[in-house]
Amino acid sequence: MPDLGKYAAEVLGAYGLSLMLIAGLIVLSLRKGRRARADLARIEADKDA
């Protein structure tokens, strides 16, 4: 861990918040994508049945 001196809270806060937002965006996108894929597969299966 580098010595961030008196600005440690600012630097770590900026990294923490940004990485959390990026991770949240990726997780939500993947979750929505999986749900959409499953819903479409179910609807298409019902149509073919």
């Binding site: 580098p2 010595d3 961030l4 001196g5 008196k6 600005y7 440690a8 600012e10 630097v11 806060g13 900026a14 990294y15 918040l17 940004s18 937002l21 990026i22 949240g24 965006l25 990726i26 939500l28 996108s29 993947l30 929505k32 994508g33 959409a36 894929r37 819903d39 479409l40 609807i43 298409e44 019902d46 149509k47």
Partner: protein, 244 residues
């Protein structure tokens, strides 16, 4: 082969599935290497101390916040002129990515500004235009959700996107239009190449910028695929209701 072939959802999904693994992998490598390099290896700035490390997040996020809106503008124009559904859905898919990047740029800017400028916020031209861009993103997303008919929603959001583009341009060039305020000028002017950042900071920054760009592309392709599937599911359900 024409670019317009990819207006066909099946062809778009096929191409998207082929390129996405490479995009995700390249984005992860560039972002991890760029951020780790910037955070752990680069020295502190002689004036700004360790807060200079915020640059590896702030600049790429701000760059993508503006570029995302321009991508939405191009996609919206294609929708308005050629009525390709995939382009409207791509614009819709890009908005949450763009607003996240705008939020990161605003938050990291405020955190960086407090120790350097002595304030979290100032009504500076660039900061203000970025805040307005954030509000445009919010309005754009809300409008897509508020209008039930997808084609009408695409029309209305496309017009909103055209109007918001003024602020996207202002966000990029505000420091040049109004030579005042707290925010410094562009550190890495792509057009002129005359950067004011030392190499030791520039190389990890460039890598991080490439990483953010690739992540944006990967996310937009993935999310556009999701929107295409949701649209298809809605159409099938509507057809089934009609048959009943």
């Amino acid at each position: 082969m024409s670019l317009w072939e990819y207006a066909n959802p099946v062809k778009f999904l096929g191409l998207s599935a082929r390129v996405q693994p490479f995009l995700w992998a390249a984005a992860a490598i560039c972002m991890v290497v760029g951020l780790v390099w910037g955070f752990f290896v680069t020295p502190d700035d002689y004036r700004q101390g360790s807060t200079v490390k915020i640059i590896y997040l702030h600049v790429p996020a701000a760059l993508m916040a503006i570029n995302a809106w321009f991508m939405m503008l191009v996609a919206s124009l294609i929708w308005l002129i050629r009525r390709h559904h995939v382009s409207a859905l791509a614009a819709k898919a890009a908005a949450p990515v763009g607003i996240t990047m705008t939020l990161i740029a605003l938050v990291t800017g405020a955190i960086w500004g407090q120790p350097m400028w002595g304030t979290w916020w100032a009504w500076d031209p660039r900061l203000t235009s970025f805040l307005i861009l954030f509000l445009f993103y919010l309005g754009y997303i809300a409008l897509w959700e508020a209008v039930e008919d997808p084609d009408t929603a695409a029309d209305l959001t496309s017009v909103l996107c055209l109007v918001g583009s003024v602020f996207a341009v202002l966000s990029r060039y505000a420091v040049k239009f109004w030579n005042q305020g707290l925010h410094q000028g562009t550190s890495v002017p792509v057009a002129t190449g005359g950067r004011t950042v030392s190499d030791v900071f520039f190389y990890p920054l460039a890598l991080s910028m490439v990483g953010f760009g690739l992540l944006f592309l990967a996310l937009v392709l993935y999310r556009t695929g999701t929107e295409i599937r949701l649209r298809r599911a809605r159409a099938l359900l509507a057809r089934r209701k009609k048959d009943i």
